[in-house]
Amino acid sequence: MTIPFYDYGIPGGLLTGLLFGFALEAAGFGSPRKLTGQFTLKDFSVFKVMFTAVLVAAIGLYLLRLAGLMTAQSVFVPTLYFWAILAGGLLIGAGFAVGGYCPGTSLVGLASGRIDALVFVAGMVAGVIVFAQLFGPLTDFYFAAQGPEGQRLTDLLGMPEWLILAVLVVVAAGGFALGSRLEKARGGPFTAEEVCAPEEPDGRAGYASQPAE
């Protein structure tokens, strides 16, 4: 048996997407208040869920390689373009804090009824079109400070993979403990009841005339 199968068929796409969407929704990531609660320290779900998922998949890939079921170079590893990736990360963090979603979670918000998620998707489409118009002048920046092809933390730090995974597990455990303490102090995390409650009429801006949904 050779893993991965490099199967880009429709059933695999639908199945993996379905599991992805189901897990994100179960985590509460259809709610922009729960998502942005990460950055007000009221809700550490984004950090906890992401870190856990990264570690589960990273350890899984490591074990598949250790068992000889997978070779080292067989999965796609993105290459670093330092400035473009850092700037893109900053823009996505900023847009997430203001708009309430990232690309994947906006689809989950939309699928669970959030009308604001549809507006966010329209904004993303506009953002990509703006990028395409500016691609010419941005080209140098886009390719600047390219790192080695598919460089991994093991290459960068010269440490064995098990040690990096162990360090990340410790960091995750610390983050879980600290996060739980911080979110409790702020009355979090957001529950399903809170984020699924009907929309409140806005008192300050004269929303009283509009019926709550």
């Binding site: 993996t16 330092f82 699924c196």
Partner: protein, 171 residues
């Protein structure tokens, strides 16, 4: 919209489920999960509908158009799966909530403006970074890619900073 939605999964359970879904995706395709790749193709298609000639000549969109229908791609099926999975999950747990979700101090119109503006930054940023929280953060992170961790540092740093400046949006 039931009165009593079932609680979300604990972050640990949801994280394990998400990690296993990601691992399965690597096993099937050799690639991780993504989302912004679909938005890029959607934008190329929308642009082609509005201005076909200019889009085909555009340095960034051109290759998508020349390759045929931009949306005919694996990632489109994955995204359709995401929408179905999230819909079925929220429906079975009574967590579908049709509304404009916003902070108490923000009107609907303001919320739409913030959602569009935030989406604009995210769309632009995802093309600059060549991926988003899913493709670079989650999938890149799982392969221990340096690129994934550089992305995550930028994402969390800007998230905290901008959130402090715009705190009233979500209060």
């Amino acid at each position: 919209m039931t009165a009593n939605p079932r609680p979300f999964w604990s972050p640990l359970s949801a994280g394990i489920a998400l990690g296993l879904a990601l691992l399965l995706t690597f096993v099937i395709t050799g690639n991780g999960l993504g989302a912004s790749g679909f938005v890029t193709r959607l934008a190329a298609q929308v642009s082609a509908w509005i201005a076909p000639t200019a889009t085909a000549q555009n340095a960034y969109f051109g290759p998508f158009i020349q390759a045929g229908a931009p949306l005919a791609s694996w990632i489109t099926w994955e995204v359709i799966g995401v929408v179905i999975g999230a819909f079925l999950g929220s429906r079975s747990a009574g967590r579908i909530s049709v509304k404009v979700e916003r902070g108490r101090e923000v009107t609907r119109t303001q919320r739409f403006a913030y959602a569009f503006g935030g989406g604009l930054l995210v769309g632009f940023g995802s093309r600059l970074a060549r991926g988003c929280t899913s493709g670079l953060g989650l999938s890149g992170g799982a392969t221990l890619a340096v690129a994934g961790f550089v992305f995550l540092i930028g994402f969390f740093a800007a998230g905290f900073l901008v959130s402090m400046m715009f705190r009233r949006i979500w209060q």
